[in-house]
């Protein structure tokens, strides 16, 4: 099974979610700025990397975890995956697309734009870290639902080509 976390730029929320999934970030407490910055892909990718499906690791159940940036067009990603899967005989049960972009708050948006869009890393990065920490629990909840679903053998196929995000308790 491939688990693909996606967000606008594939820089912050999806990378954080993938790190939580792989146990690189704690689920029982908020991470520190240093822990976030120690992630290999956190706030690192540029506009040329949009669309690159990057493997982050393999979880305890042997599922491969990926991150990808898809700008504000998740539907394109779903259509491509679904269509290419049909053409190349790849079953939709083989992958899960998890939209983390809807958990992004305005602080992360502004910080991400400054850091990645305008190259103002000194101003943007602290903002994006603050935003990530403030909504970290929501990301953890989302990842927990995915992991619980995988453990319980829940079928994700019906959601695979839609904006998939299980209910997150706020």
């Amino acid at each position: 099974m491939k688990i693909i976390y996606h967000c606008y730029g594939g820089n912050h929320s999806s990378v954080t979610a993938a790190a939580v999934h792989l146990g690189k970030l704690p689920q029982n407490r908020l991470p520190t700025a240093g822990e976030l910055l120690s992630l290999e892909l956190f706030d690192k990718q540029g506009s040329r990397d949009i669309g690159k499906i990057i493997k982050v690791g393999t979880d305890g159940w042997g599922n491969d975890v990926f991150v990808v940036g898809r700008l504000s067009r998740p539907q394109i990603l779903f259509n491509m995956f679904r269509g290419l899967g049909e053409q190349f005989e790849i079953a939709p049960e083989d992958y899960i697309l998890v939209d983390v972009g809807m958990l992004v708050n305005n602080t992360m948006r502004v910080g991400g734009l400054l850091s990645r869009g305008f190259g103002l890393i000194n101003i943007g990065r602290p903002l994006v870290i603050r935003g990530t920490i403030s909504d970290y629990q929501k990301i953890c909840d989302l990842v927990s639902k995915i992991k619980n679903g995988l453990q319980n053998g829940r079928k994700f196929a019906t959601y695979a080509h839609y904006i998939f995000c299980p209910e997150v308790s706020h």
Partner: protein, 144 residues
Amino acid sequence: MKTKIFYCTSPYPLAPLVAGVLTGRLPSVFDQKTFRDFACANNFSLYPQGKPVCLGISPTGEKVMAISTGNASINPDNIINGFLTMYGLGSNHYSLVKVTCRERFWLLLGRFMMAIPFLNNPGRLVIEWRIKKIYPDLVETLRS
């Protein structure tokens, strides 16, 4: 069978046009009636962005597909390569051809006009006018 995938990021789906020329569904010289029939048959006015469309077999025996992502600069080549590489499919299974777009402004204008009911037909004419102009370049993509 190897698959040839045409992709573009133009406001109007140009990749299916090039793929149509390769598979013989469209002539190599612009013909208005054939173009209109082809556009209607493939639902170009409501084209699902990013959805791969299979347009048949090329004369060299390759399966021909086309992907158009609308006006989004989402790097479709990255997604296609990433997705297929994830499942162990490499360059011996598929090849990618980028269809470049020069008339972005006019095609975008035509699309906007087509979205407004009473400007639908003028919008269609604007698109046909520009497609006719760039058609030789699109056909040239197959030769390069």
